[in-house]
Symmetry: C2
DNA sequence: TTGTAAGCGTTATCAA
DNA sequence: TTGATAACGCTTACAA
């Protein structure tokens, strides 16, 4: 009752295992007749080659590891979806890991992926020291973080995005701006969004304040607390640049619940361009990153490295201002 | 520069590979001294056992396959997160597949998972004929669908949920109800939500209408079209029972944009209890399923079967009405 | 064109 | 207690 092996197929087809393997991999010259015979045996036995054995033998698993903070976060959910889809199209499988931004979990996951002999790792989470990533010795691609000179990274044009967002708020007349973003100790490139914010407001002489989530990020309840804090200390803020659409959505909610009219009393702009923003009213003005293209490129960069090609290190995607109803 | 193998460790520790394997798996009696020696060699070499080889040898991969329509859908994203988390805690890895409700893709994924010798498959998508699943010959668990008498399934108490939802709308005074749910040809248990709706409205003599998404479901744009259609044909609907929170969110949006006040002019209730509903204003009234517990159970049921234990077939989770601001 | 046999890195069965 | 050695199911020189 066990799964049939290549040996069973060989036996039934009356050929050697080598021949079956050849048919399986379409290597060398094979007569149509032979092929038919072997394929026939396979069908009859409902044979499925054992990928574990193939992987072991070829020293190649055709598996890509993906580590993200939380798949349940809309941005990473979308990203993971596109990555899986693109990997699948290229005959690769996806081993999914949620780090929850927990260092030991992330380390465990990396260890596990290496033990599983994945062909490469896409890191959407990177809470460890740079050293940890340099020791991976596998094709790696990161999102939104430059780890070293030889690990390619993918990000949106964060500074430009921050610029567009802040400029829009200022141009629409905001004079008391707040920025809400990730923790500065998370050494991520998205901090450039804040840098741009800072540059613009100072250059234009606009009053401003900045809040950031705690180092474990992505805690939705914390977003609510943060906004409460903001409105308590600066009730007259008239513009918010949120570093993600999810934060922006919470900002919108906080405004509504505190009787602030959006966009009349206060304007809000987010970042990411997650497709779920379409379910909000008004739809949030945002800086859109090309999430699908970024996910695809991550897979491509892994595959290129797997094939021994060298790849460019820096991959900055253009962003686009998408005006919604909150500005 | 290749990864060290058990042989290298044996050599460096001055023992046989058998002994190293014993230490690795903590089998038999091993003196502390021996252990120290072997572990030392492992550390020195930065050795990681090759899981492909182990899996092949033990005929057990410690991988669970998960097939969902879209991880990017909030419900499945949350579910996948919990499943990964629980699997990880038990030393299992997660191979993630998005079927996008595409039959051939789902079939491919099942084939791929079988070839990869996963220890079990959790099906959150099931667009194929029952026969296809019976041929899997692996531990399987499904969400929201009864496939046969020997494939365990997990679902929320759909009928009860539909009852609670519909009753609430009626009790709050709605007299023209609409239900929006999945396509009836998708043979899923969540259709019971609609059945309950139907039963209640007929029993209470309430005017009602029912819309459903197309068979490929989960197309957010379609939700918008559906609502447009609803309001066009029945502008005076005063209560909507949406079969998911995402649909409910779109309903809320459509109401807002068409000048309907929620909950004064029209009431809305959703289903699922996704955590993202917290970012809407007002927060959507919903029927909450215990998503985390359901995800955990899915993993547990796979593990039980892997260990050769028999498991109960039916796992219906209680639902809870969570009153928000839309009713 | 087809087959034999070694090897991929483990675990497991026997002996010693 | 420890160690040869044969699996596990496949690929791939090398021969024929």
């Amino acid at each position: 009752m066990d799964m049939p092996t290549i040996k069973d197929v060989a036996l039934k087809a009356g050929v050697s295992v080598t021949t079956v393997s050849r048919v399986l991999n379409n290597r060398g010259y094979l007569s149509e007749e032979l092929k038919a015979k072997v394929y026939g045996a396979m069908k009859e036995l409902n044979y499925r080659p054992n990928e574990l054995a193939r992987s072991l033998s070829r020293s190649k698993s055709n598996i890509i590891g993906l580590i993200v903070p939380h798949v349940s976060h809309p941005f990473f959910g979308e990203l993971a979806g596109h990555i899986e889809d693109h990997a699948y199209r290229h005959g690769y499988k996806l081993l999914l890991c949620n780090s929850q931004l927990d260092k030991s979990k992330e380390l465990d996951h990396i260890d596990m992926l290496r033990s599983s002999r994945v062909d490469g790792i896409i890191m959407g989470s990177h809470t460890l020291e740079v050293e940890a990533y340099n020791q991976i010795h596998l094709p790696v691609v990161t999102f939104d973080r430059k780890l070293s000179d030889d690990i390619p990274y993918i990000c949106s044009d964060n500074y430009k995005g921050g610029l567009l967002a802040t400029t829009l708020l200022v141009d629409r007349g905001c004079r008391k701006l707040a920025h809400i973003g990730g923790h500065p100790h998370l050494n991520v490139l998205s901090l450039d969004r804040h840098k741009a914010f800072q540059d613009i407001v100072e250059q234009r002489g606009i009053w401003h304040t900045s809040l950031h989530t705690d180092i474990n990020g992505f805690n939705f309840h914390e977003y609510e607390r943060l906004l409460e804090l903001l409105f308590q200390e600066h009730p007259d803020v008239d513009g918010i640049f949120a570093s993600s659409d999810v934060i922006a959505a919470y900002a919108l909610k906080a405004c509504r619940e505190s009787g602030r009219r959006v966009p009349e009393d206060i304007k809000i702009i987010g970042y990411d361009g997650i497709s779920l923003r379409g379910l909000l009213t008004p739809s949030i003005t945002t800086i859109r990153q090309p999430i699908e293209a970024m996910g695809k490129l991550a897979v491509d960069l892994i595959l290129e490295q797997v094939e021994g090609h060298s790849v460019a290190m820096e991959h900055i995607f253009p962003v686009e201002l998408e005006v919604g109803g909150t500005t």
